[in-house]
């Protein structure tokens, strides 16, 4: 092979994207072998979830030129995963998904390094997440998405003009599938809407009235929910139901079958039981493949700028024919998680009481009767009386001390905003900066919820 600087790699199609200039490219795109090499060396990608989407994502990213991948997942492989989570074999049942997935992809694709993390996402320190260039989500729960989103947004900093500082943006690419439907989206905190800005996009979970379950079940799902929500408590006083425990699931299944027989209802199966209890819609392998491909491509585009990115939310529907659409959602400028918050500069001597008074006169806030919370600590609560009493002694302490002398940080306040007729209760994010504390450096994190 000729010894040229732009030696073709094993990924011919990738070379076409990374080595050649183009018209529809992203900002600061610099095609060439250096880009290809930098992608291998410096881009560090975290894949959250090693299930149906996660398996696809790891394979797709590894084949898209990324060499430094890590994957986090707390689940072990179950027999029912094997039809679509194609990195797993029958003999892997019971092993951690993250570990097996990492090994299988590394076995097949030389040069790629995948570090598995077999744990809950909450088990990792925040700094763990800050190490990655980009975070790709292959999850099936709103809670987990919301958590990762809050973590990624917590690295975001704004300058004094409320513009996001580019070096603090932690991009995310989020995929999700339900049966024949799916979505792929990019989240650039501070630039595009974060998960919390658009949480309403997720339809609320269907919840049956308890009395219907208890008295007039009509469907297999009613029987399952009866066993899960009512019968379980009756039979196991105090022991809480664990959806990840197969014995618990089996118990619910057999009770649901009895219930269904009693009412002459058909259709209770073990997999339906799992689906109803865990609120899972059967996964379709092809949907995962399509959504993962879109996510991997967006990841490549964000990192390399080889093309403009999706802006910013793609929906896919394969129920009848194929329908796909991109919607540009907008940020909620007052978002508690990704928004800049209102900048407030204070002297270190300002007491909590004084701070609360200041909020009332602040032109952007006009917030009266403020309750204040910082990093999960309730510094002052206007009500109810029991909490007011517990927090009252903080009022005379300097806010700076109550905030552990952190030079700048986020504080959330609730209270009544506005004057006259336009009063309304509200919850606001504030960026509090203390004047004259040493250690205010560019690297201090002040973003997030």
């Amino acid at each position: 092979m000729a010894d040229t600087t732009a030696q073709p790699s094993r990924s011919r199609d990738l070379d076409k994207l990374l080595l050649r200039p183009g018209h529809l490219v992203g900002p600061n795109f610099e095609p060439g072998p250096e880009l290809r090499d930098d992608l291998k060396e410096y881009a560090k990608v975290l894949v959250v979830g090693a299930g149906g989407l996660g398996c696809e994502l790891l394979k797709d990213l590894a084949l898209s030129g990324f060499r430094n991948l890590e994957v986090i997942d707390m689940d072990r492989i179950e027999v029912s995963n094997l039809n679509r989570q194609f990195l797993f074999r029958f003999e892997d049942v019971g092993k951690p998904k993250a570990e097996v997935a990492a090994k299988r992809v590394m076995d097949r694709i030389s040069g790629v390094n995948i570090v598995p993390h077999f744990c809950r996402i909450e088990d990792k320190e925040l700094e763990f997440y800050n190490d990655f260039s980009i975070i790709v989500l292959g999850l099936d729960s709103i809670e987990a998405r919301s958590y990762i989103n809050a973590v990624a947004c917590s690295f975001l900093e704004y300058d004094s003009d409320d513009n996001p500082r580019e070096e603090t943006i932690k991009p995310m690419v989020d995929g999700g599938t339900e049966g024949f439907k799916g979505h792929a989206r990019i989240i650039m905190p501070g630039v595009t809407p974060c998960f919390e800005c658009t949480i309403w996009l997720f339809p609320p979970q269907v919840k049956f009235p308890l009395c219907t379950l208890a008295e007039t079940p009509r469907t297999a799902a009613h029987c399952i929910e009866y066993a899960h929500l009512i019968k379980w408590d009756e039979a196991h006083s105090g022991k809480s139901f664990d959806p990840d425990n197969p014995e618990h699931m089996q118990w619910v299944y057999s009770e649901a079958v009895k219930r269904a027989e009693l009412f002459g209802i058909l259709g209770v199966t073990y997999s339906l039981t799992q689906g109803v209890v865990k609120n899972i819609i059967p996964a379709i392998a092809s949907t995962n493949a399509i959504i993962s491909a879109a996510c991997a491509l967006e990841t490549l585009k964000i990192v390399s700028a080889c093309s403009k990115t999706l802006s910013n939310y793609l929906t896919y529907n394969g129920v009848e024919g194929l329908h796909t659409k991109v919607t540009e959602f907008v940020k909620d400028k007052d978002c508690l998680v990704c928004g800049p918050g209102i900048l407030i500069e204070l002297d270190t001597s300002v007491t909590l009481k004084k701070f609360i008074d200041l909020l009332e006169d602040h032109p952007k806030l006009l917030l009266s009767r403020a309750s204040v919370t910082h990093r999960g600590k309730n510094l002052y609560m206007q009500g109810p009386p029991v909490l007011e009493e517990m927090t009252r002694s903080n009022l005379d302490m300097p806010l700076c001390d109550l905030m552990d002398k952190i030079p700048k940080d986020i504080v959330h306040v609730t209270g009544i905003a506005g004057k006259g007729d336009k009063k309304q209760s509200c919850l606001r994010k504030l960026r509090v900066v203390f004047k004259g504390i040493d250690g205010v450096t560019d690297m201090d994190t002040a973003g997030g919820a």
């Binding site: 709103i142 919301s146 999960g376 109810p384 909490l387 517990m390 209270g415 919820a449």
Partner: protein
Amino acid sequence: MIKLFKVKEKQREQAENANGKPPVKKQSAGELRLHKDISELNLPKTCNISFPNGKDDLMNFEVTIRPDEGYYLGGMFLFSFQISPIYPHEAPKVKCKTKIYHPNIDLEGNVCLNILREDWKPVLNINTIIYGLYHLFTEPNHEDPLNHDAAAVLRDNPKLFESNVRRAMAGGYVGQTFFTRCI
């Protein structure tokens, strides 16, 4: 963004372990919204809220209801609230911790209240739920039964229902079921 990642990655290699920041607990969006709900609570005198885990855990709390009218006058009923990190996208989980003879609350403490399940909406709040619970005591209804027997008695023989409620609250048997005193 690869240029940026390259710079950051190089900085990181140099500054390995240079940061000694304490681990930070993430406050979920649900916690923040709950903070607002709680600070704005406006409860009737018959309802009382308490926080068994102290002032910094608002996600688990208890509400005591002492009805001042109706069948349950004089009783005291404890409810536990568990709030999800994605509140208000998801409704609070509420259980009645006091064993009660009630058509809409079963003996395990499950509560049949529409806004806790099928009719929950993110615009509702903790105050609405507490009022909804209070309403169950002033207007128990036999049309949404969770305790089948109690509902049938309320429907067919309100006088007997009343005396059953009295007997349960005073501590005693209604049918085969023993209730502890809650007056």
